[in-house]
């Protein structure tokens, strides 16, 4: 069991260079260290100029997504020992512009989140005095999985469609829309349908399926999208066949 491992870290310093360079660092490799521990060791002891995002180190805040040996991973949940004897290549998350070193620009994702209207939309709000909206555990199971998204964007990094066409609204945004569509308290499905049935909405997805494979929280955005396609298609059919009908 080797007790040191080499990290090959992608560096990008926009004030000094026009492109990416790789820098190697040798870090300790105890069995309970994750890649993030390795990066922290680099920053604390070897090279204070390395920039990256991290916060909770327990896989719930979604800050530390990076590309490790070509795969999108949460570096706080990826053990160094699994890559022994190394080296381990650490690069910024794919398909996003790189600001600096391992830090990517996620503004596009944030705007898409807002576009899908991820809040409860109702014609009439119930007053607080009438208590909670009743929702059985079975009704919650319908959307529960899609509510688990930590916004880590590993799915966007894995999605080749998003890589080829950044206008594609993307897996996490659609899964979040579905989370609200399937919530019995929400009535906003028609409003969201208008946004999502655009060309870069759900129809941009060709079911490559990698998003669900890399998702660390088993949200299954690919499943959310395909199911949404079905219901969107049925909605279109209904409004075609019965224009003033069920709506």
């Amino acid at each position: 069991m080797a007790d040191r491992i080499t990290l090959q870290v992608a560096r990008y310093r926009p004030e000094e260079e026009a492109g990416v360079t790789y820098q190697e660092y040798e870090v300790p490799c105890p069995k309970d260290w994750v890649v993030l521990d390795g990066l922290n060791f680099v920053k604390d002891q070897l090279d204070g100029t390395l920039s990256y995002r991290w916060s909770c180190r327990m896989g719930i805040c979604g800050s530390c997504g990076m590309t490790v040996n070509g795969e999108p991973k949460l570096t706080c949940a990826t053990f160094l020992a699994d890559y022994a004897p190394g080296p381990v290549r650490v690069e910024p998350l794919r398909n996003f512009p790189v600001i600096r070193d391992l830090v990517v620009e996620i503004g596009d994702f944030m705007r898409k989140l807002t576009r899908v209207k991820p809040w409860v939309i109702r014609a009439e709000e119930k007053p607080l005095s009438e208590g909670e909206y009743r929702q059985t555990p079975e009704e919650m199971d319908e959307y529960k999985q899609f509510s688990m998204c930590i916004n880590c964007m590993l799915c966007y990094a894995a999605c080749p469609i998003y890589g080829l066409d950044p206008k594609f609204i993307g897996p996490a945004a659609i899964a979040l829309a579905q989370r609200y569509n399937l919530d019995t308290r929400d009535e906003g499905a028609p409003e969201r349908l208008e946004i999502l049935s655009e060309h870069e909405g759900i129809w941009g997805c060709t079911f490559v399926g990698d998003c669900s494979v890399v998702c660390p929280k088993n949200v299954d955005p690919a499943g959310a999208i395909q199911r949404y396609k079905l219901s969107a298609a049925l909605e279109s059919l209904k409004s075609f066949v019965m224009p003033r009908g069920s709506r």
């Binding site: 926009p14 004030e15 492109g19 360079t21 070509g70 079911f207 399926g209 299954d220 199911r227």
Partner: protein, 140 residues
């Protein structure tokens, strides 16, 4: 790789690096290659539709036309095409059957049907239809 050129850096406006996706992106991951082959397999599905339509037309024009069709089908090029096509169509069916559970949530008596059953029932249906067809063609 690095380009050690002086960067066009404007103070407080760092240039974001936008790596472009390579034209051969689909070769970089096994899952991407599988995906592209799956998509290409639709071409062969379309080919078989055309082939069967040609067969039907040949049959409708009588015995001689049918024999001509069979002779054409025996030519090496068409045989190869159909063989490759068959492999792709099987690939097509297998990938889609395995993906089916992700695309649909089926409920029976209020309980969610596990994904494995949806896949299994697709294979079962395929097997049954194939068995039936084989019996029709080869049996009586």
């Amino acid at each position: 790789m690095s380009e050690r050129l002086p960067p066009a850096y404007t103070e407080y406006h760092p240039r974001w690096l936008r790596p472009r996706m390579s034209t051969y992106w689909w070769l970089h991951r096994r899952s991407y290659l599988t995906f592209v082959l799956r998509e290409l397999s639709s071409i062969f599905v379309a080919w078989f539709v055309v082939y069967i339509l040609l067969l039907v037309r040949a049959v409708s024009r009588g015995e001689a036309s049918y024999q001509q069709f069979l002779a054409w089908s025996r030519s090496p090029l068409v045989l190869l095409l159909n063989l490759v096509g068959l492999l792709f169509v099987v690939f097509h069916a297998v990938t889609w059957f395995n993906l089916a559970p992700q695309a649909m949530v089926v409920r029976v008596l209020g309980r969610r049907v596990p994904g494995r059953w949806i896949t299994a029932s697709n294979y079962l249906a395929w097997a049954l239809v194939s068995a039936l067809t084989a019996r029709l063609l080869l049996g009586g």
